[in-house]
């Protein structure tokens, strides 16, 4: 009774308001600290340590040797560049596909919009691994696609591009990402007041001009969110390359994975993770500068 009363008093009293405010936001901060700052901080510390590969105890601290590893073998740096290139390409293609579909649902589908939207999310009822395995069966020189084409005599030998390679990684990542990106783009398109499009029409703009000068600029927040949604995870992607990448399709994430689990070099893996983090932060920062954080979050 008295505990309950004092508890109630605490939340109703005019005094202690600063303490009260702090307590009310504390769960949010705690959550961010636990799930974000502690792991990132641990990785950061680890990246400056030299671990013994055998005992995994700290031999030296702080050192930059882990970071230098990127430049010791040129193929590591090249892999990072290639990963960046793939992330940009996957982002561009999946956002483009998602935009076309989102535009179609928002402006052309008149009935059951949300059902159509929901159907595009259906692939996510299967686990990521299952989707990837399905792709693995489809691709490859003896995969479903090549086999069928050969069977029907449309080709005389397997299409190399559909083997396990970097192109397949791009294809699979684009295909798996784009339905997910429809959502933020659809939301920002749906939010556009249709009367603005009429106004543009009335002021003499053809449908294409209206799209370029009104619809597209107003949908940019959704596009930026979609870009973040796909760019960040693609930079660290390692599963799709492992399943459909073959020998030529591995990415920087696979390198980190190997250092971590195969080479037991947690310190190098941590340093390489920090490289990824830096690139990601730069990307987010540039977007933030372009439209402002608030607008970006509002469009979610």
């Amino acid at each position: 009774m008295s505990i309950k009363k004092s508890f109630r008093n605490f939340f109703t009293a005019q005094t202690n308001s600063r303490l009260k405010d702090l307590l009310l936001v504390l769960p949010t901060y705690l959550w961010i600290i636990i799930v974000f700052f502690i792991p990132v901080f641990s990785v950061l510390i680890l990246s400056f340590a030299e671990l013994s590969p055998v005992t995994r105890t700290v031999v030296n601290f702080p050192v930059l040797s882990n970071y230098a590893k990127l430049f010791i073998r040129t193929d590591y740096a090249r892999l990072l560049l290639r990963t960046f290139f793939i992330a940009v390409t996957v982002t561009a293609s999946s956002v483009l596909f998602a935009y076309v579909v989102a535009y179609f649902i928002a402006f052309r589908v008149l009935k059951n919009k949300y059902t159509v939207l929901f159907l595009f999310q259906a692939p996510y009822f299967a686990t990521y691994m299952l989707i990837l395995l399905a792709w693995r069966l489809m691709l490859g020189s003896t995969g479903v696609i090549n086999s069928l084409l050969l069977y029907f005599g449309l080709i005389s030998e397997p299409i190399k591009l559909l083997g396990y390679n970097l192109f397949s990684v791009w294809l699979v990542l684009t295909a798996t990402w784009f339905p997910w990106l429809i959502l933020p783009i659809f939301v920002s398109l749906e939010k556009i007041d249709r009367v603005l499009l009429e106004a543009s029409d009335d002021l003499g703009a053809s449908p294409i001009t209206t799209f370029l000068k009104v619809t597209f600029p107003l949908s940019l927040p959704g596009v930026f969110v979609a870009v973040l949604f796909v760019f960040i995870p693609t930079m660290g992607e390692f599963i799709a390359p492992a399943v459909v990448g073959g020998r030529t399709g591995i990415l920087f994430g696979n390198l980190i994975y190997d250092f971590f689990l195969k080479g037991f070099r947690w310190d190098v893996a941590a340093a390489f993770t920090v490289y990824l983090l830096i690139i990601t932060f730069i990307a987010v920062f540039l977007l933030y500068r372009r439209i402002g954080f608030r607008k970006l979050m509002e469009s979610l």
């Binding site: 009367v195 009429e198 106004a199 029409d201 009335d202």
Partner: protein, 351 residues
């Protein structure tokens, strides 16, 4: 007189609903033409058909003599000021006004000059760089009007643009709109449900009801000579009595004989008489009026400039009176015995 806009037997159906039914009218060049009616009467639909956002189910729309049936909105010589204004939130004031001009590929320095001229016209000089979100309601209104006007349309269409403004601002904008109209001389077609706005600004008013035009005329004609009970009631409210016409007078049940002007003589029989509340005098003693009745004040609403009374007459009819406040004899209280009266020229016969 040159005709800018002409509607010939225009009908618009949405499914089974008839929004506009067999409407015809002409708007002369330079005219301020208002479509006035309650919400849902089809006035906005007519505007949207003129601007091209809706297609007539039947009939024809001509602008400067050209049939508009196959002309999309972006190719019509009209510009619309939307009810919600529809200013582009991602563009600043300059970019909003310049929008139409840039599409027409007009040279940048001419665009600048014309935007400046427009901002001067609405007395917002130096507003080029402002964001739309930084503008007040009245400022947004003005920008929306000049964003349309800057394109020098043959006809400027306005869809209740003063709707969301508060009373004070609305009165200011009415004066402003009249001034802009006078300075640019463009033909205006104005849609509103506010009879005050329509009467103040228009050269010609079309009163609409349920998709049909009830009466077209100058503000004075519409107000002084309504042709139906609906128009008489919609424009300013009125007292309507049903009676039988005979020899310059109308015999009304529960009221008695009302004298009317000989000019509005009709054939004998059942007629409606309309008497505007502000044409009726109220006092303890009244004389020298053609129609005088005695009664008792049942309701009195003080409204500042005027007082509105509802008077129950001795013979059972109820009549509303709008009198100056305070009148010669002050303000009458509820229950007070009064006389009311009016001249026969103010008894209007309506069909």
């Amino acid at each position: 007189m040159k005709i800018d806009v002409e509607l010939k037997n225009v009908t618009k159906k949405f499914g089974d609903v008839v929004a506009v039914s067999d409407v015809s009218f002409q708007v002369e060049k330079g005219q301020f033409f208002s479509l006035l009616g309650p919400s849902g009467c089809g006035k906005t639909t007519i505007l949207r058909m003129i601007s091209g956002f809706e297609k007539p189910t039947e009939g024809e729309i001509l602008i400067e003599g050209e049939p508009m049936a196959d002309v999309p909105p972006f190719k019509r010589p009209t510009n619309l000021v939307f009810q919600s204004l529809a200013l582009f939130p991602h563009l600043n004031v300059y970019e909003n006004i310049a929008f139409g001009l840039k599409i027409k590929k007009i040279p940048e320095n001419e665009i600048k000059a014309r935007v400046k001229e427009m901002l001067d016209l609405v007395r917002l000089p130096g507003y080029e760089k402002r964001k739309i979100s930084q503008l007040s309601g009245g400022e947004k209104q003005r920008i929306a009007i000049v964003r349309a006007l800057v394109n020098k349309p043959t006809v400027l269409l306005l869809d209740e643009p003063l709707g969301p403004l508060d009373l004070k601002l609305r009165e200011e904008m009415i004066v402003e709109l009249k001034r802009i109209k006078r300075e640019v001389g463009t033909t205006f077609i104005y849609v509103t449900h506010d009879q005050g706005e329509a009467l103040t600004m228009s050269d010609k008013i079309a009163v609409m009801k349920a998709g049909k035009i009830m009466q077209i005329g100058s503000p004075i004609e519409i107000y002084e000579q309504p042709n139906s009970e609906f128009v008489a009631n919609f424009i300013g409210g009125t007292n309507v009595f049903k009676g039988r016409y005979e020899n310059g007078a109308v015999e009304v049940d529960n009221l008695g004989k009302i004298t009317v002007t000989p000019e509005c003589q009709l054939s004998k029989g059942s007629v409606l008489v309309s008497i505007k509340p502000e044409k009726i005098f109220i006092g303890r003693k009244l004389n020298a009026l053609d129609n005088i009745f005695a009664g008792e004040v049942k309701e009195a609403y003080y409204q500042g400039r005027v007082v509105t009374y509802r008077v129950l007459l001795e013979n059972g009819s109820s009549i509303s009176v709008v009198a100056p406040s305070p009148g010669m004899e002050g303000i009458f209280g509820i229950g007070e015995k009064v006389k009311i009266g009016w001249n026969k020229k103010d008894s209007k016969l309506i069909t």
